[in-house]
Homo-oligomer: 356 residues x 4
């Protein structure tokens, strides 16, 4: 089985390195007849695009997507959709240091241990640049499940969390942090600026919710909706934790406190709480699907860290260059994309088996 593909029926395969000529995704299994053009994909890529504020990497990539196949007269044909994004700003810089010494926290050492060598330019295949392909594929996934709204935001940066009482959906796109709490956004400006100027970095927690998922999507065992979402999100660069619903907090609760009681509603049950995050037994309940994702701080920092070089000798390495001081921020459109991709896949799996 291919290890650069994701999904069962709605499936995508990505390719490309940070400093190659281009990156891309091939989306397979898309239903035929959906309206699709570059204009449906570009806005999501623009959300993820680097260089739009001083709080993200200064690499300037237009991230213009081209659809090379799978669309005819403005509609998907049911055949593979090839999406390509050219790399433009592969700034000529000296990678000799990165080529020789392993950056702690990066994939460098593990990669060499696996393959014997690696494309070290800008992280090669392990670069967060690969996530642009996921976002492009995710834009197609959204068209497969128009009834679903996937919406993410940053919940905390460097341990400073939003106040959910101040949650304002409209605020999310109004600041460079995808922050739904305007007061927190102001605090984060100083926080992230400080980290950036110090050559340091910060971790973040991203939350994401999918509304409109009908009860029944998912599977009881080895393609559980929550397991697929955990796989999807833990596979994003820099992610170290995933929670569904109450997550680790549920582990401290009693059964009574954790119960999502039901009463008769207009269409199916009305739930009195959503500790479960919209999933029981791996299957959607019809409530909003809720998850949280932990991003570690960017491993690229200016402070020199002890390491070894390719010959095993001691070295110190400081990572200069263009980096996100808080990689979790641009993680929001990526988490959204992965959630949309999982849900589109589950929608087709469910329809395949049950006809609904």
């Amino acid at each position: 089985m291919s290890i650069n593909s994701f999904g069962h029926l709605f499936r995508f395969t990505t390719w490309g390195e940070s400093h190659g000529p281009a990156i891309g995704a091939v989306v397979d299994g898309c239903p035929p007849g959906l309206r699709l053009s570059e204009a449906d994909v570009q806005p999501w890529l623009d959300k993820r695009r680097p260089g739009t504020s001083r709080f993200t990497t200064q690499r300037r990539e237009p991230d213009q997507v081209r659809i090379l196949s799978g669309v005819f007269e403005g509609r998907t044909t049911g055949t593979p959709i090839s999406l390509m994004i050219e790399n433009v700003d592969q700034r000529s810089k000296d990678y000799s240091e990165v080529a020789l010494a392993y950056r702690p926290g990066h994939a460098d050492y593990a990669y060499d241990a696996k393959y014997g060598f690696r494309d070290y330019r800008g992280g090669g295949r392990s670069s967060a640049r690969e996530t642009a392909s996921r976002v492009a594929a995710g834009a197609v996934a959204r068209l497969v499940i128009p009834q679903v709204r996937v919406r993410g935001w940053v919940e905390a940066i460097g341990g400073d969390a939003i106040d959910y009482a101040a949650f304002d959906d409209a605020a999310i796109d109004g600041n460079p942090f995808f922050c739904p709490d305007p007061a927190a956004a102001i605090r984060w400006e100083a926080l992230v600026d400080g980290a950036r100027k110090a050559g340091s970095s910060l971790g973040a927690v991203v939350a994401c919710e999918a509304g409109g998922v009908p009860a029944g999507w998912g599977a009881p065992l080895y393609a559980k909706l929550d397991a697929e979402l955990a796989h999807a999100c833990m596979g994003i660069n820099a992610v170290k934790g995933v929670e569904i619903g109450d997550g680790f907090a549920a582990a401290a609760l009693t059964g009574e406190a954790n119960a999502d009681a039901m009463r008769p509603g207009d269409a199916g049950p009305e739930f009195l709480a959503n500790h479960a995050g919209g999933i029981t037994g791996g299957i959607a309940t019809g409530q909003p699907i809720r998850l949280r994702v932990a991003f570690k701080p960017t491993s690229s920092i200016l402070t020199p860290v002890a390491t070894i070089d390719r010959d095993g000798a001691a070295a110190d390495i400081a990572t200069r260059g263009r980096h996100d001081p808080c990689v979790g921020i641009r993680g929001v459109p990526v988490v959204e994309a992965m959630m949309a991709l999982v849900l589109a896949d589950q929608a087709l799996l469910h329809r395949g088996q049950t006809g609904r």
Copy 2:
């Protein structure tokens, strides 16, 4: 792709319901020539077996495994290994209440929404009894990677955590909680007894570590070692969160605080910390793989909870019968099994692609 199978090259498929005649697993892709008999599997099943203390369900299942295929003259042949466990204690009880009303937190409602009906006896396919099949398959996986030691324990019950300063590996198997901190084990006795007597339930956090995993296992993108582990663990009944290494705590750190510095060691690097939990870029670094798993409290409680019945009418339901007051405890051998299964699979994938 089958949704009751797990793994790429080392792959298993499970079948069976709580109250059917038997459950089982078919393990496929096992290397030939490994010594294997029922005696290699049974001890792990015995760790998971119900009814061994008053802190677990009182269902009495001997959980005797039979190997029906794939072994000849004591060695694996490279062909499918069929493992079967007969169900013995399917106590005749009245399931009419469960058949009619949906138990909140259980798969009941979502299952009906998916399939239109369900085997409601004892949870049917969604019963935690299915995890016995995982444990049996996991026992085979351990034989594929003898250099690896997978070891799990309970870290917290109902919010009461162990003191890692008192961690004693030898203590884990000496109490009914897989607790490495003898003082915590004594506290938990009262805690779980209280919940059990009150007909309530408790959540738990399970930790698991794999030592001896060589640097290089894993994959850079869509079969990342951490993503596969997250999928494996989030797919266990009642799990709501998974962390690798520092997990959510890493999201509150700076890049400096999160860096796992390296210095020259005897064989490869020596790491000065393990915030990463032994995985960077989806690939093992050679450090111990560390993860944490959050189990919600058992949804079966005696306190009546508001719900609806199959006709959509309001109802109250209290779940009588035999249940684990804290399902996370018996989750330990299951988390271990899933970790072993992922690692065996990655070992073969790595060897297939790289020849190492």
Copy 3:
């Protein structure tokens, strides 16, 4: 990917050896709500069952199937259906000769080259006994596509072919050869008897047709309906060739002679010929799907053949014991089963992607 599984959405996994305690199949992905009991499976197994005439192996196996999971109150639940058939007549015989020397034409030598050793008793996993599992799984597949009628027959034995002008569907089940031409059936009686008495064996050609397959099932490239059928049939023991429609005869035709002209019909087109065997571009046209399968003569013969033993020394081997003089005869229900399994899978794949 597991190598003992077949299918994408409707998928089955088989296990078991000729002389182990049992064999079986786990059918995954079956739609919920279908009526299913052992009585739906047994008749197909009875067609394939050995020992029913002197023209098949004299091994006496009742081939009683048990359904161990996936069915509740007489209907499929959408979860794995575990089918088990116990081996009864594992006659105690001396396999020392087979254990030491490789039978030409059998899997013996190649198996040892792959795995280093093998379960040599009765062919082990390579025994045609495994096909009982396929037939059992195929019986479930038929229920998924009740609108389809899959029907196979023997077209030729040892080069002696039926006369299609005498084709009588009703005759197929009236003789021990699944022969639709009563005159040929009489000839074959002498032919196969002669081979049996001489300790020789004969090859055969099996034809199979599926009526009622709607236009649209299939896929344009790497899951082409014809490619999937070729895979399914070439994977049956002793098969050496597969043709769709006119097959190799089409290679000698001109485009004009091979054209399947169309004219307006009551529901879609009416075809004036079916050279294509009901498939163009990998997708069903709505015509009957037609294929032919070549079975080589059973490799087990009494005439000694030169071979080598496990130490590489020269040896002669004659295969005594219970064997089908013409393994193609009992291939009919197996080809039917594989065709039903492919079609059920394609039906679900088509529905998953297109909603139809």
Copy 4:
């Protein structure tokens, strides 16, 4: 599972239509460290390239391949290899006739039945142009198994077969038919010219052999080497039959006549015949792998054929434009590529499971 991908561990995904901007393949799972540049791929594409003689379509495509990812400093990195071929000669022509009426023998009607509409320009995704992607991927596969030599040729055109007594490997690349028999090549010149001038078309039989495949590659049941090859070849446009070794001829033999006797050889057995085509029980024996593939005559012919249009009304259609009068000729490099792709995949699967 994706339906535009092929292979288990060495896996490729293709995309693109006849008249889109480009076509391509993403090769995943390639071992790291192999020398690879465009110069390794281009010669195989040149063999398949249209417009090189008057016996193939006159579409002029340079078929220049670009490697967009997966190679660093001239070596494969173990990450996806993106291969792209731009479409150059999408001659502006009037497709209104093809858009409206279904060409018999083509995918047109079945495609519309499946997806509701299609990209009709030049066959869209069903165009034989897609096979260029297979050939490009196959060139990479050859590098994975340098010990194997895959070699194909045309055995018959329009029923006129070569004389194997006159077989000359060196002649194959010396004529426009990949014909190993110089006398047949001269006959075919007149034969194909006649068909071309008449606006007719001819079928062909392609043979292919792989030498150097070690005993042990393959799998006993559902990834049998012969089944995988049958799938690979039956999935090529216009193929209607596949044989391994003696194929259908074996069905007319007795067991004695079909036996491949063995005697001790220098390394493993020496076989006295190769009726089996180098595969028993789905596993390679170490003999040359031999297969034959039947290509139907090109369905595009000038003679008008009765058909229906999209509204179901009667119509006649004659296919003007640029077409191969015998599509089987250019099938040779495609069959070779598919064989190399299957063998590379099996090599990695074998190594993954057994370590050899």
